[in-house]
């Protein structure tokens, strides 16, 4: 038993100075975000909504991939989008042109979306039951990896123009994805990019991730991405109550 404040010996490290007392917190710093992310996850699950957190560096082709996906699959299930960028409505306008509902979140100085922002985004978007919501995170291969939004899956998009070694340079991001989409494969003939080395590097930080090479411009490889989406949307959708 501590003579100064009476706290027990087994609850964390303490430093005492005369005239002070120590409060033990033992609190996860991200607990608040994780708690709110849990609310988002429950809300989405209860509505049968598949939410996918799309993360990448700026310029990987996320928005092009999303707009093409909406145009190709929008007839199969409702798709809506939460766009995250520091500034502008550029990406939201591109999504809106497809006819899909979209909400833009501008983070200002912020470098990532967090669970509170997604909660507000979802409230504004009001996506229908049994639909798919893409959350396009702020373009950044570092910070978004740490913040759970309540999504069902994380997809990391990387383009072949970004060069070699990215999974090892940004291991937190590549380790956090369920799915890695290697985009702009139509440019491979013009580049010195080793796809096998990329797969090997990805496996070193994330042995379980599924990796799909795609070109959002030509459509190469998109069938596998669409099959992935159909499979997960089908698992997430609520089954109508019998009777």
């Amino acid at each position: 038993m501590c003579a100064t404040c009476g706290c027990s010996d087994d609850a964390g490290v303490r430093v005492h100075s005369p005239g002070t007392h120590t409060i033990t917190l033992e609190q996860d710093v991200l607990a608040k975000n994780d708690h709110l992310a849990g609310h988002n996850r429950t809300w989405l699950r209860d509505k049968g909504i598949l939410a996918i957190n799309m993360m990448s560096s700026p310029g990987s082709g996320k928005t092009t991939l999303l707009t093409r996906t909406i145009l190709d699959l929008g007839g199969e299930f409702p798709i809506s989008v939460v766009e995250g960028d520091q500034e502008t409505f550029f990406d939201a306008e591109r999504v809106k042109a497809t006819g899909a509902p979209v909400v833009q979140i501008n983070t200002g100085a912020g470098c990532h979306l967090d669970a509170t922002m997604l909660e507000r985004g979802l409230a504004a978007l009001d996506p229908p039951e049994n639909s798919v919501v893409f959350v396009e995170n702020v373009g950044n291969l570092v910070c978004p990896a740490l913040f759970d939004l309540g999504e069902a899956h994380r997809a990391v998009v990387m383009s072949v123009t970004e060069g070699p070694g990215k999974p090892l340079k940004y291991p937190h991001m590549f380790a956090s994805g369920d799915l890695v989409l290697l985009n702009k494969t139509d440019l491979l003939p013009h580049l010195d990019f080793d796809v096998d080395a990329f797969l090997r590097d990805t496996r070193r930080v994330n042995p379980r991730a599924e990796v799909l090479p795609v070109s959002a411009t030509t459509g190469d490889g998109l069938t596998a991405w669409y099959d992935w989406l159909r499979r997960h949307a089908g698992r997430t959708a609520r089954v109508a109550d019998a009777g």
């Binding site: 964390g12 490290v13 303490r14 430093v15 005492h16 100075s17 005239g19 002070t20 007392h21 120590t22 409060i23 033990t24 917190l25 033992e26 609190q27 996860d28 710093v29 991200l30 607990a31 608040k32 975000n33 100085a109 912020g110 470098c111 990532h112 967090d114 570092v142 910070c143 990896a145 740490l146 913040f147 090892l168 291991p171 937190h172 380790a175 496996r203 070193r204 930080v205 994330n206 042995p207």
Partner: protein, 109 residues
């Protein structure tokens, strides 16, 4: 620079528990695999604490190492980065520790 918002969360969480009492020090634990840079948190801490009950508080950070277990050879080993490779050569490993990001305690006047 996610350390800025994370440090803001730390200061908010401490203020919520200390109820406006002057805070003399804050003890944090940051795991080597947490993705949070201790030096960046130190930098942000001073800026964010200015004008609050935490102004002038010292920040004491323990950086705890990562540990992992290999599902193939059964061994446990130290992991200083997220390259998930056991010394036996297997990548079938589970991270056991090193992702912590915790406020352990605060000292108030």
């Amino acid at each position: 620079m996610h350390e800025l918002s994370i440090t803001q969360d730390i200061v908010d969480a401490v203020a919520a528990r200390t109820g406006g009492a002057a805070v003399k020090s804050v003890r944090l634990e940051i795991g080597k695999l947490s993705g949070v840079v201790a030096d960046s948190v130190r930098f942000c801490f001073e800026v964010i604490c200015a004008g609050t009950a935490l102004e002038g508080a010292t920040l004491d950070i323990t950086e705890s190492p990562g540990r992992a277990r290999c599902h193939d050879c059964g061994g446990e080993f130290r992991l200083d980065d997220l390259i998930l490779l056991c010394p036996c050569g297997s990548a079938n490993v589970e991270v056991l520790a090193g992702r912590q990001l915790r406020i352990n305690s605060v000292e108030v006047l």
